[in-house]
C-alpha cells in the first residue's frame, strides 16, 4: 500500500511526505447550486486510474497533479504542475489536505 511519489521539484519521495488533495475537480464562481453541490461534495472515487492532487508539505510546498491507479497505487505519471489545469482556466479545488 505504501508507494513513492515522484515530486516534480524534489524527486522521488515516500508518500508520507505528501498531503492528499483528492481527485481533480475545478470550481468556478458562476456555478449553479447543483454544480456547486456536485463539485463540493460528490466524488467519482474510481477503482482504477484517478487524476488527483498532491501537496509536498515536507519539501517544496507545491501542489501538483498526478494520475494513480487506486487499485494498486501505481503512479502512472505527472499530469501537471500548473496551478490551473482546465483549458477554460478554472482553478482546481482540493480536499482539506491537512486533515
Amino acid at each position: 500500500m505504501g508507494f513513492i511519489l515522484d515530486c516534480p521539484s524534489c524527486g522521488p519521495r515516500s508518500y508520507h511526505e505528501f498531503w492528499f488533495g483528492g481527485e481533480l475537480r475545478s470550481w468556478r464562481p458562476d456555478f449553479s447550486a447543483q454544480e456547486d453541490y456536485e463539485t463540493t461534495w460528490l466524488r467519482a472515487n474510481v477503482a482504477g486510474p484517478q487524476v488527483e492532487r498532491w501537496y509536498h508539505f515536507a519539501g517544496c510546498s507545491r501542489w501538483f497533479t498526478v494520475e494513480r491507479d487506486t487499485r494498486s497505487n501505481t503512479v502512472l505519471g505527472l499530469v501537471s504542475l500548473a496551478r490551473t489545469d482546465a483549458p477554460d482556466g478554472t482553478a482546481p479545488v482540493e480536499d482539506d489536505a491537512a486533515r
Binding site: 500500500m1 453541490y37 460528490l42 466524488r43 467519482a44 477503482a47
Partner: protein, 413 residues
Amino acid sequence: LAGARAGRQGMSGLLRRRVYLRASEPRSQYDVIVIGGGGHGLATAYYLAQQHGIRSVGVFEKDYIGAGGTGRNTTVLRANYKMPESVEFFKASFGLYSTLSQELDYNLLFSRRGLFWLAHSEGALRIQRERAMLNQALGVDTIFVNPAEVKDLCPQIDLSAGGKGHPILGGSYHAPGSVIRHDAVVWGYAAAAQRLGVSVHEGAEVMGIRVENGRCLGIETARGFVSAGTVVCAVAGYSSKVAALAGVRLPITTHPLQAFVTEPYKPILDRIVSSVDLLIYISQTSRGELLVGAEIERYSTYSTRSTFSFLAECASRCVDLLPFSAKLQILRQWTGLCDMSPDYSPVIGLTEVENFLVSSGWGTWGFKAIPASGTAMAELVATGRVPRLIAPFRVDRFRDDRLIPDRSSAGTH
C-alpha cells in the same frame, strides 16, 4: 495411507465442517435484493424477514460472506459519540447487540470490557470532557477520568506513555464498551435469515444495475438479469463503485485502515484501551490475541496491501501505552477499506434513483452500527418511510448543508 484415510474418516465427526449457508441458485425475481453479504446487508435481509415478513429477499455477495469490512474490523462496540444524532443511533445499536446472541440463537461471544479514550493534550482532554457530558445527558454511561483513575481501572497502562513527553492527562471511560466476535455476527445473521427463507448467494458479483426512467428494476449478474422491487446497496468500501452502476454519485471516498494481532496469550488486558492522540486502540480478543488498530490512511485507495511502516509505528505506540506488550510476538496484519464521508457520519437511505437505497459512509465505525442499521433499512424498505433514527443521515444532506460532523468520534476505530 489406508490407515490414515481410515483414521480421518474416524475423526470426521470431530473435524466435520459446520455448514452455515445452504447454496442455492439465484431466482429470476426477488421482492428485495441486497448487494453485499456483510453485516449490514445480512442484517437488513434478516430484519426484512423477521420483522416485516418479507421473505423473498436475495443477498448477493461477490466473495464470501463477511469478506469485507465486517471480517476485518476490530470488533469494538460502543455508543460514546459526540453528536446527539449519532449517540441516539449507536445507543440503539448497542442495545440490540447486547441481546443479539439470544435473538439469533448463536453465541456471538459478547464481552463487556469498558473502554478508555485517553488524552495526551489539553485539546483532546477538553473534547473527552465534552463527550462525557453529552453522553450522560443522553443516557449513555461515559465518565471523565483523571490519570489516577485510569491507573486504578487499568494498572497495565503506563501513564507517562513511554516517557516521550506526552503523558496521559486523563480521558473518558465508557463502561459499556464491549467486544463481540465479528465472524459470528455474520454467520449468525446469515443462518437466521436463511431459516426465515432469505437466499444468500456467495461468489455472485453484481455486474450491473438496471435503471429505466429513474427507477431501479433489478441487477445484472453473470447468470443474467434478476428483477427486484427494491435494491439495497450495502458494500462499504465499494459503495461508490456499485452506486455508479445505478448512475448514482455519492459523497464518499475509499480509504484503507490497518490492524494487527499478536500471538495468543493468557488473559492480561480486560479493558479496551484507546488513545485519541496516539490514534491507536488495543484490546485482547477472546482467543487471547492482542488486537491493535490505528486510523485510516489519508489518501484514497482500493488496495488492501498492508505496510511495514504501519506495523512499526503502531507497535511502537502500543508499547508506549502498554509496556508489557513489548515482549509479544506479532502474528499477522491486514487491511480493510472504509467508505469515508465528508462529515464522518453515515450516508444512508433513499437516493435520486427510485427503489435504489444505499447504506454507506459507515467509514471506520460500521461494525458497531450493524443491528440498528439493519432494522432501520428493513423498516425503510418495508414501509417506504424513513425511520427517525436514520433520518439525519440522509444521502442528500450535503445539498442543504445539514452535516453531522463527528470526526472526533472517528479518530480511532
